[in-house]
């Protein structure tokens, strides 16, 4: 079965000040395939895709679309040529409604003369959302949607557009679409993608190698802005890919289980009957010094809200929190931090990072007190601290003074992690510690989490996958419909099987 080439990159180069993002990249992409694109953070995946959509102009090389060399001026032109993209950073405008976002720049489809028919737009939006199994009111402001809903709106927009232009073979690019999605939505997404593959090309970028392997027809590995190799999808070996991406063998033993330590008996945090009206029923639990506690449950189980209460960005309606046996009150994040409780939010780009500032500013912000000498912030200490943590979380950047907005998506995540790991928190609450981070760095982060536990720091984690939860934690709390339903101990040598846990989750 000979497939037709639809896109060809020939020696594509892209240079940013101080970084060669792509070093003469060659690749052909075919009709009717799902192409998985994998590589370390900062390997150049997003850059390559942005060249395909005309958001960046290459500094060298050629880009052929359907056999013709072409220069695209921007997203709109790309869309007209049948190339659409869901961006890693998201591109939903928070001040517009779902409908307005869906059809932004295509309002003319709903115009009568000069004017747009709002009702026609809403009706079409409702239809498009339903088709993708989304229960979202088309007239709500996107600022009020959850990250997952926003992502699905974007995907819906892309699918709608691909139909609008009726290209023989549209090209859909999804740059880490699943990082903010829930299991159920991920499943729906891949069902849809596999269906439209019949008449479209899908390019998929993800750091969840399992889903890449499961869904791609072909997998291309990038490293340092260069093509490394490719392999057929379904049969690919995850270890092999990891090895290719990172350039070395991954340390054996999942989640650094061998480094797991047993927590002490000292209770550092006790939650008593904490409840949030209509979200969480009274819940009580303890956290010990050096313990890693995983919170597991579906969306709506109340675990997200629970940790927000501990982090201070949300208020519980009743109950109490004890820190080292003393009752404390947490009304704002600064109170939590004052009690050495750090909360790393999931929406890191918006809630975690100042993209206009540089890496050092972001990493150091929680520890300026330690970087002073003679009462003033010391530049050298600042540099050293930033460099140290950039090393720990493996940030790929030209220097500690690089603007965070210019980092790749994964590297931005790492900066936020570094910032919080460097903080002197005794208790760290981490919402998805490895989301969007490449395998090499993931391992480093597991190692670091173990180190922290060894030093007597306690952690509450909520992971990307159940396996990760099980692998990392000492103990697991399972929540369902706002209630604690089970508590499972996970010693290194007797980890429970995921299947056992799922029963209590669903």
């Amino acid at each position: 079965m000979e497939k037709k080439k639809i896109i060809e990159f020939k020696g594509i180069r892209k240079v940013f000040p101080g970084v060669v993002a792509l070093k003469g990249f060659d690749l052909a992409i075919y009709e009717k395939e799902i192409l998985g694109l994998v590589g370390e953070n900062g390997a150049g995946k997003s850059t390559l895709m942005k060249i395909m959509t005309g958001n960046y102009q290459p500094d060298g090389g050629q880009f052929l679309l359907r056999g013709q060399p072409i220069v695209l001026g921007g997203s709109m032109e790309a869309i007209e040529h049948g190339i659409g993209m869901v961006f890693q950073e998201g591109s939903i405008l928070p001040n517009l409604t779902v409908t307005e976002n869906l059809f932004l720049c295509h309002e003319k489809e709903f115009s009568k003369g000069w004017f747009i028919s709002e009702s026609a737009m809403v009706a079409e939006a409702r239809k498009a959302l339903e088709e993708n199994g989304l229960d979202i009111n088309p007239t709500t402001l996107c600022g009020n949607l959850s990250p997952a809903q926003r992502q699905m709106v974007e995907i819906t927009r892309l699918l709608w557009l691909s139909r609008l232009y009726r290209h023989e073979n549209p090209i859909l690019i999804l740059d880490e679409p699943t990082t903010v999605l829930l299991e159920k939505e991920i499943k729906t997404l891949f069902e849809i993608l596999n269906r439209i593959k019949e008449h479209a090309t899908v390019i998929l970028i993800s750091h969840r190698l399992e889903e890449i392997i499961e869904n791609s027809d072909r997998i291309v590995v990038l490293k340092d802005g260069d093509y490394v190799t490719e392999m057929p999808g379904k049969a690919a070996d995850i270890f092999k890919i990891e090895q290719l991406m990172v350039g070395r063998d991954m340390v054996e033993g999942y989640y650094r289980r061998n480094e797991q330590v047993d927590p002490t008996d000292t209770v550092v945090l006790e939650v008593k009957d904490l409840a949030i009206e209509s979200i969480l029923e009274p819940i009580s639990f303890t956290l010990h010094k050096g313990e890693i506690l995983a919170l597991v449950g579906l969306i709506g189980s109340g675990k997200e809200e629970l940790v927000k209460c501990l982090g201070g960005s949300m208020q519980a309606t009743q109950g109490s929190i004890y820190r080292n046996g003393k009752r404390i009150s947490i009304k704002q994040p600064k109170h939590a931090i004052a009690h050495a409780i750090g909360y790393i939010p999931i929406d890191r780009r918006i809630e975690g990072l100042a993209t206009d500032l540089d890496i050092a500013d972001n990493i150091n912000m929680l520890v300026y007190k330690k970087l002073k000498s003679r009462g003033f912030i010391n530049k050298r200490k600042e540099r050293d601290n930033a460099n140290h943590w950039m090393g720990v979380v493996k940030v790929k950047a030209t220097s500690h003074r690089m603007k965070c907005g210019n980092l790749s998506g994964g590297n931005q995540q790492k900066v936020v992690l570094g910032k919080w790991l460097s903080a002197d928190a005794e208790i760290l609450i981490v919402d998805h510690p490895t989301r969007g981070i490449d395998v090499g760095a993931k391992d480093e982060i597991y190692h670091h989490i173990r180190q922290l536990a060894k030093q007597g720091k306690s952690m509450i984690i909520m992971c990307d996958t159940l396996e990760e939860d099980i692998g990392l934690c000492n103990r697991m709390l399972i929540l369902k419909d706002g209630k604690k339903v089970n508590e499972v101990s996970c010693p290194p040598d007797a980890k429970p099987a995921p299947t056992d846990i799922i029963e209590s989750i669903v």
Binding site: F16, P17, G54, N55, Y56, Q57, G73, G74, S75, E89, G311, S313, Q332, P333, K334, A336, I337, A338, Y343, P345, I350, E351, G352, L353, A354, T355, D356, L357, D361, M365, L366, Y368, K369, K372, F376, I377, K403, G405, K419
Partner: protein, 328 residues
């Protein structure tokens, strides 16, 4: 150089690309030098010591307000009450010079700081946009100045001695200029080397993140506006001493001029980028242009236009676009 999603490089950028690598502020400095050369060629008297002192004197006063203003702007806000604060401070100073002597300076500064603190409190505690807060409080401060004295106040000749502490010269340099240098150093250190200064930058670039990271955003905002009040108070004191007078409209022209100097220096109105050093350059550009136009004898009808065009040119060439992802 390339921004997200921004395809083509504007012409200016391409030219700049050739001299890339220089820190952005050097363009602004280059601009300043260019203006100085033009004016110096245009008139032999531009570079005389007397004229340099004149420029230094007016720059020092503008610098003090702008130093304060830049902190308000770095948080993403704006302080429209600097004019009112300057006026109020000038009236307080003139009114109390005779009974209090040198202590009148401290009282006046305290009044300005309190005014700034009030702005910060209203803005942060009641969550009212700083534009409205300071526009409103500017009126309040002016009215208070009117209540103190309807007539313009002039310094009693008995207190010329006290005024000359600020207004005099030391080793041939005007004290006001020395004061300007001190103020600059103070604000520079606050912005670069203190936690408060860093937190102001963080707040300006991502407020929600700052809050989640434990920054006391109420406090930081309040401090930023208090610093702005402090800068305005200093400027008010300097100006009043310089003019031997105080009246309720004395500071009005400094509202726009201080904001303009901050922006010309390259600080973004959206906050989080730029700062004290940039503002120094902005202030120098404004002062040099204003003085130079008179020195080279631009027709008075044309001066206003000339100023506008020069400012546009100066910013077009020297504005540091690399720190900002969008230019608003």
């Amino acid at each position: 150089m390339q921004k997200d999603g921004i395809g083509k490089q504007p012409a200016i950028k391409r030219i700049k690309g050739r001299v890339a690598g220089l820190p952005a502020i050097s363009y602004a400095l280059g601009m300043l030098v260019l203006f100085i050369v033009i004016f110096a060629v245009g008139s032999a008297t531009f570079l005389t010591r007397y004229n340099m002192l004149t420029i230094g004197n007016s720059a020092a006063i503008l610098l003090a307000v702008a130093m304060g203003q830049v902190f308000a702007i770095l948080t993403g806000g704006i302080d429209l009450s600097v004019g009112g604060i300057m006026s109020l401070v000038s009236v307080v100073l003139m009114k109390t010079l005779e009974p209090l002597g040198f202590w009148a300076y401290w009282l006046s500064l305290a009044v300005g700081i309190a005014a700034g603190f009030l702005n910060g409190l209203i803005n942060s505690r009641f969550r009212i946009p700083s534009f409205i807060t300071t526009l409103g409080s500017n009126g309040i401060f002016m009215s208070i100045a009117y209540m103190i004295s309807i007539k313009p106040l002039s310094a009693p000749s008995s207190s010329f001695g006290v005024l000359d502490i600020v207004n005099g010269t030391t080793l041939g340099i005007r004290n006001i200029m020395l004061l300007g240098v001190l103020i600059f150093m103070l604000f520079f250190v606050i912005q670069r080397y203190t936690i408060t200064g860093r937190n102001i930058m963080l707040l300006g670039s991502n407020e929600k993140m700052s809050w989640l990271s434990g920054v006391d955003i109420f406090k930081v905002r309040t401090i930023a506006f208090t610093l702005s009040g402090f800068g305005a108070a200093l400027a008010g004191v300097m100006l009043a001493s310089n003019l031997y007078s105080g009246y309720p409209t004395l500071g009005t022209v400094y509202i726009l001029n201080s904001i303009a100097s901050v922006v010309i220096g390259g600080t973004a109105m959206t906050g989080g980028a730029g700062g004290v050093l940039n503002t120094l350059v902005g202030v120098m550009v404004m002062s040099v242009i204003n003085n130079g136009m008179n020195i080279i004898g631009i027709d008075v009808y044309a001066q206003q236009s000339f100023l506008g065009v020069l400012v546009i040119i100066a910013v077009a060439i020297s504005f540091d676009r690399s720190k900002l992802s969008v230019i608003k």
